[in-house]
Symmetry: C2
Subunit: 333 residues, 2 copies
């Protein structure tokens, strides 16, 4: 029975403050390329691409407050979304060489529950569903509305901005470098974009871009940005809360002081995890596939080659050094 090398990225310890590469370690294990006899609910995957996402930081807390159906523990490989090829399936729903996406592990080969994966259709996946569900289901956009997206060049933000434009909204994004701002305006079709690091007064910046206020704020960062946004929301505004990446590494999160505006402006602020939108997957495909075929959706990816580069790739999310969706490519298809 084929026993092969299985390189893995393990969590070394629970993390306090900003994650460092040394919080993870790369080890060489081995794996038997066979689904255990009689296991009809697992698949053996060869992992092709691994996704780096901010929520992974939250799973690195001891006693994480996030329940996604999987947790991290020191000594085990990171669990995360990825694109994989089926090596062998116990579940008749999948067959050898199927391309799938779903919850897998940071290693070359993974044995995972078949309930956690889906067949891959074209360019879809977790950030797409996150942007779609958060923006359309919770943001309830209407043509002509004013939309602000933070971390706008990130995996989710870049899609939200494009979905907003497809809906006929005015959309402004914030990001952390001039290069990202240029991409937002020139490649991703945002009406305006600004570098939040260059703005000494975020409230004033928002008033400049939204003299009449914001209808939808797609929240990816939290903290000071949220506080400034709350001062600039319009009546009956919506704030889908996708992430608060500025806060995950702080032992004492920044205080948000302007929440009373939720009342004054009758604002709905709603946190979500992408899984609540999985039932909408067919509707999402119906929406997105024609746009993809017509070349109307751009997607900026930042791909690192090799599992060894995984820890650095993940850490880069929190210093803002990624440019677009961060992916670790670990095997040729």
């Amino acid at each position: 029975m084929a026993q092969v090398r299985n390189k893995q990225v393990l969590l070394k310890n629970y993390v306090t403050g900003f994650p460092k590469e040394s919080d993870m370690e790369i080890v060489e294990g081995s794996i038997t390329l066979k689904v255990p006899e009689g296991s009809s609910d697992v698949v053996l995957l060869k992992n092709l691409y691994l996704s780096c996402d901010p929520y992974m930081r939250i799973l690195m807390y001891k006693d994480t407050p996030l329940s996604l159906g999987f947790q991290y523990s020191p000594g085990s490989p990171l669990t995360a979304f990825g694109v994989s090829k089926v090596v062998e399936s116990g579940d008749p729903k999948y067959k050898k060489d199927d391309l799938v996406w779903g919850v897998t592990k940071w290693e070359e080969y993974s044995l995972v529950p078949s309930a956690k994966i889906h067949l891959l259709f074209e360019h879809t996946g977790m950030p797409g569903m996150t942007a779609y569900g958060g923006f359309f289901e919770l943001g309830c956009p209407k043509k002509g509305e004013k939309v602000f997206v933070s971390a706008a060049s990130g995996a989710v933000g870049q899609l939200v901005g494009q979905f907003a434009k497809l809906t006929g909204c005015y959309v402004v994004g914030s990001a952390g470098s001039q290069e990202k701002v240029d991409i937002l305006k020139n490649k991703l079709g945002f009406d305006e974009a600004f570098n939040y690091k260059e703005e000494s007064n975020l409230d004033a910046a928002l008033k400049r871009y939204f003299p009449e206020g914001i209808d939808i704020y797609f929240e990816n960062v939290g903290g000071k940005t949220l506080d400034a946004v709350l001062l600039n929301m319009r009546s009956h505004g919506r704030i889908p809360v996708c992430g608060m990446i500025s806060q995950y590494n702080l032992s004492q999160p920044e205080g948000v002081t302007n929440l009373a505006n939720l009342i004054y402006k009758e604002i709905k602020m709603q946190g979500f995890i992408v899984s609540q939108f999985y039932p909408l997957y067919p509707k999402f495909l119906e929406f997105i596939l024609p746009h993809i075929r017509e070349g109307k959706i751009a997607y900026v990816e930042d791909i690192v080659e090799g599992l060894e580069g995984g820890p650095a790739a993940l850490v880069s999310l929190f210093s803002g050094q990624n440019l677009g969706k961060k992916i670790v490519a670990i095997a040729p298809e």
Copy 2:
């Protein structure tokens, strides 16, 4: 034409910090008891009861962030909800001696737009609609769910607690004195109640009363209480945001640090103003009237006699010295 005395409570100046009686002044004006010729959209009211409500503090800010269709300005009488008797109506919808509730002014007689008032049916009004709309429409309670109400003995909180019990929920209230706690438990039917001033650790207090977490938090106070609640919400919890009375008088509001739990627990937090629920008024009456007739709704009122007592009554809301719904009775019916 009858010209009579019209005592008024004027705002003297915009308010910083806690409101004081001296921020208001009582003056004696006069009024002609006649609707101006040809005015078919106004009514002349004799005010009977005036409602003291926390939102009035927000209207005392210079450049108030709250748009209710009326504002305060120094030298003018306070505008607020009240119960009044029609003296004369230009609008054929009302006739002399009708009892009405709606937006009137802190004075003996008021000429107001007829669009701002409603006929009075039994014991209904603004706090009832606020509790009803916030709890049922935004809280979406289900039998067996766990509900926490802050400022629970206040005008709105006491009704929310009773509506929660009528829905088959477990409900705990917080308030600022032992006397209020006793009323919550013994008169208003809350399952549990506690004095937040006696709790050095609100997180621990909430874990004691909600070992499995909170499904619905009816938010009246903001600040530290909200921060502790966010640590104790259950997955898919709801937070209708009715008020944040602990914050209105602070020049620098307290920072809320645990908002990332909105994501982890997929929480919907929604601010509201009662007027968005006015279309539900018939549905509200259908719900509440049978319960009132069967004696199933208790209501604790704290009534002050005379317009002169108005400023002190209003100020008492912010020191927690009121016990239940604070009302200024200014004329015998």
